[in-house]
Symmetry: C2
Subunit: 306 residues, 2 copies
């Protein structure tokens, strides 16, 4: 598929869910590494990854999985990062790069750095792409294509290591932006974490309704609820961790949102039609910007990709 030389001799993927397995497929398809070693905590998941031929070697021991790897990418829920760091530390090669794909970035430093040996380059990254599916069978090589990957190194991070991680994601079809971790966490709290939490909440509000109403509610979901149920089908463990890891920024935007919702509530109660219409109209401007930024698409798994 690709005539360019591999960027890495050996990449280790720790965790092989939607993102990990999509990355494995992308690494294979675009010849990004000579060898992919895969670790999963769950024997069933590891077997699935093996059946799907996602890697070149499969490991039950994290330290074995990262042995001789030039690049280690942590693709587990963020709540497991500290355990993972402790487990891989003894196996890491001197000069190896450790990266991740998590949705919160400030926490990566505090969760990983204390456990990584000297001479390891920590380059946190966040490919902003996904679907509501989970597990190694749900991944596909083009998941990342056309979307943005945010990399959040420290000022002191080795630029060569940053460039290597950047090139990996570019080869996967992403555009890359280097950003301060705090800024990432604030921007993503708005563009991703808040929408996700609201989807969970609205679907939860529905789930709390008595049973007869529930059947009608799902029947008429085409009125708008449908889209929220799709978003709310995302992995609960992953999102639990995002909330806890990006707590400050999430609480900040949740607070702003609740202020705005309270203002809306008051406008409806008071029958302030002009205020409602003005406020609804302003949303179209943001829509226009998203289309201009060419981010109004979602990659879907092709039927013929295993």
């Amino acid at each position: 598929m690709n005539n360019e030389a591999p960027l890495f001799g050996r990449i280790a993927l720790i965790g092989i869910g939607l993102i990990g397995s999509s990355l494995a497929r992308s690494i294979n398809k675009y010849s990004i590494s000579e060898h992919i070693s895969i670790y999963s905590r769950s024997p069933e998941t590891l077997k699935k990854a093996c059946d799907l031929k996602l890697g070149d070697s499969y490991h039950r021991d994290p330290a074995q999985a990262v042995k001789n790897a030039d690049l280690v990418i942590i693709c587990t829920p963020m709540g497991a990062y500290t355990t993972v760091a402790q487990a891989i530390a003894p196996g890491l090669k001197m000069g190896a790069i450790v990266s991740d794909v998590g949705s919160s970035k400030r926490s990566v430093f505090s969760d990983l750095n204390p456990y990584l040996p000297d001479g390891i380059h920590l380059v946190p990254a966040h490919p902003v792409a996904g679907t509501a599916d989970s597990g190694p069978e749900s991944g596909f090589s083009e998941l990342f294509k056309g979307h943005w990957c945010i990399i959040t190194p420290l000022e002191t991070t080795d630029p060569t290591a940053v460039t290597k991680v950047k090139n990996l994601w570019i080869r996967c079809g992403m555009m890359v932006e280097i950003m301060d971790a705090s800024r990432h966490d604030h921007v993503l709290a708005i563009t991703s974490h808040l929408p996700q939490l609201i989807s969970y909440t609205i679907v939860g509000t529905v789930a709390d309704l008595q049973d007869d109403l529930k059947s009608e509610v799902t029947k008429f979901a085409a009125g708008g609820l449908r889209d929220f149920t799709r978003i709310a089908a995302s992995d609960p463990t992953m999102w639990r961790d995002v909330c806890l890891k990006n707590k400050d920024a999430v609480l900040d935007v949740l607070g702003r949102f609740m202020e705005d919702l309270t203002a809306l509530q008051r406008a409806i109660r008071r029958g302030q039609g002009d205020l409602l219409e003005d406020s609804f109209s302003s949303a179209r401007e943001i829509r226009r910007r998203v289309i201009e930024a060419k981010q109004d698409f979602i990659n879907v798994k092709p039927k013929d990709e295993s």
Copy 2:
């Protein structure tokens, strides 16, 4: 396209936006009426409808448009209903059926009934289907296919008139449910009005951010915000009217939602991971039900339909 006999001699469409124009296309495609007469308040819209050959006659006077019509369907924003009722009343044929497509149903009786002459059958209806687009050019004949139409007659409404409206929507590809107007308003407040208001609010929260953050926010919209901006691109006038017409039910579900959001906020602040995960997991059950109810799809306009 269809060998069945027309259900009506003449249907008048008052308003020819997304829903009105989709209905006109459907009526044509499935030979539902021998004649379609179209009224629009806006000369530009009426000209577009004429250019698109959506009807058989085009009118600037509502009373003229409904003359000799067996069925009149009001497809304007709900805020215009009373004006429309007053304007069509002098032209209505004795025994004609007046119906609509609005998203709130209790208000239809209070907005229309006082102005309709005796001998007119009022049969409110709500085809639960739509896209975020508006205007006559955005409609398409298969918009309604596979979704539900809710009809909310009074107990005293002539059953023959109800059956006629029911058959129209069935021929357009919909499944039909007869429901009490209050129940409709409560169910739709949850499945449609709340999701819409939340989408407007979250996109509004983003719109209020300072300009530099706004560009980053749209760039990384793939994290979840994108779906909300699409929903929030819907017609602001239509949704203003829905809020005001279904005020009680909307404020009720908005109140429930805010309670749930406050509980979420507290769980995040307290770091209650188990509570978060349980709450997020329960959302998957509703998702499963929506899929079972076969409502996880949206019809899109085919490229070759004008």
